[in-house]
Symmetry: C2
Subunit: 301 residues, 2 copies
């Protein structure tokens, strides 16, 4: 067990869970978030509150970054009172941000120019797994940087996948992963809606698909939200408007056609256009239901 | 254990496996296929050869039907020396054919007019599971018909899902299932190809996706064909040209838009257009690879 303190910037659904799992693993954790509720929850769990990114950078050599996009990452790293100016020259930033591979590579270079190493390590697993110390990291970066931060990664991880030595490769794997995740959600909703339109009982449909070769992780996880009529956002429609957008941007940058991902993205955009952007991503099914006058299962109350 | 003989018409990949699993379960099985090799394999396994569908209909009250589409089903059932004319009036036809729900319903009505009951029971599981008696049946039909044939279904089944009382509902569930299966295969190939284009090692990508929330049954099952460079057709591109075609036909009939399935269908059509129709359905990845000059993993020899 390392005695070295660790930092976490961004204490939302995933970052907050990872921070708590690091505390639970016995590490001293310095955390920072603009949202006072997220901060209070972190401090209650045993974390040390930092007032700004620079404070985290002075307290910890290894810092996780959990913000929503590349723009926020730049602000946290390079803005006033940012992390980069405060970190020691052997510092390691573990970026868990979902962003374009080219953005990750650019940020990695800027950090490198200041002597700070970056690990490009987007995650999978969701909030509940994060809080349980079971996040999966898709980690790319210089082997010695990854080894240097492994004590922190492992304290929060179910699995640390090593996907390459170059910054941007972790983000590329995440982009590919989100292509699949987003297509699977929209396909699940298209399929369930078609089944209901053909008068199949949705629970029977769920049982068959989850027992057969048509199953996906997302189908199994999201369709129960439809069956329960519960669209409380565990992950919102807008997340996939953004993430499938990143997928299509990567395709454009690579001059690589992605017709299936593009069709799926349109369904998330349709859901957002219809006013469901902040609902759970399973609300994509409402686009189909609204069009065809389908009655979806209702919630318990 | 029933002493009642059972019939199987169509002894190909799935039908032949189901027939052998029925023999292995101790049943007397009468089988028929136009292909002499399929017949020889069936007889070697202990089956009784029938020269035409009518011969099967005279020997067995419960008959499985494993042909490729509704047209073949009509020929077998209602053609010269067909099954329907030869079956007793309490006969039960278990149709495992993938066809439009409306076609299944029409065939069920025609059989009903002759006093023959139909069970609409498409399958999932593939050839290996069929031979092992582990097929999954999506069964719809009158409860007394399903009960009357349950000894035969269970002898071949991993699971018999009951999806409704009306003929056509089994086919509807299969259509929904194939929507998911087809979209998942094309998404798997689009995602793997994008990852390779971004210089991610395909084996690392496979490990991450199968361990994370982007996984699907099809991704896990088909991507190894790509990694091994082995496109020996376990299920061919043309199967999904057909099955996603049925999905889109169902959408048209129901006046129900299916944009994600339509995009996936185009990729199977593209693969067929490029000459890969009779290769394994994983060959959809070659469409992306050919366009972008990607080098795919090669086979062992």
């Amino acid at each position: 067990m390392s005695n070295e303190p660790v930092g976490v910037i961004g204490l939302g659904a995933i970052g907050g869970g990872v921070a708590r799992s690091l505390v639970n693993a016995g590490l001293v954790v310095h955390g920072c978030d603009l949202n006072p509720d997220a901060m209070a929850k972190f401090v209650d769990a045993g974390g040390h509150a930092a007032d700004r990114p620079a404070t985290v950078g002075k307290a910890a050599r290894v810092v996780f970054l959990f913000v929503i996009n590349a723009g926020q990452a730049r602000t946290v790293l390079f803005g006033d009172t940012g992390l980069a100016e405060a970190m020691p020259s052997d510092g390691i930033v573990i970026s868990c941000v979902t962003m374009a591979p080219s953005e990750a590579a650019a940020i990695g270079e800027e950090l490198g120019a200041k002597g700070i190493r970056m690990i490009d390590a987007p995650t999978s697993g969701g909030a509940a797994n994060a809080a349980a110390g079971k996040t999966k990291f898709m980690a790319a970066g210089a082997p010695e940087a990854i080894e240097g931060a492994m004590f922190a990664l492992q304290a929060a991880a179910d699995t640390v996948y090593r996907v390459g030595d170059d910054i941007g490769q972790g983000s590329a794997v995440k982009v590919v992963h989100q292509l699949l995740a987003g297509v699977h959600i929209s396909a699940a909703m298209e399929a369930m809606a078609l089944g209901m339109k053909m008068n199949i009982e949705p629970g029977a449909l769920y049982d068959v698909v989850t027992g057969c070769a048509g199953n996906s992780w997302m189908f199994e996880n999201r369709v129960p939200h439809v069956l329960d009529g519960d669209y409380t956002p565990l992950s919102s429609v807008e997340i996939f408007v953004k993430d499938l957008g990143l997928v299509l941007d990567a395709g454009k940058q690579e001059r690589f056609p992605l017709p299936v991902a593009a069709a799926a993205h349109q369904q998330f955009l349709a859901a957002s256009a219809a006013g469901y952007g902040l609902e759970d991503d399973a609300a994509v099914i409402k686009v189909y239901a609204d069009l065809a006058g389908l009655k979806l299962p209702e919630g318990k109350d």
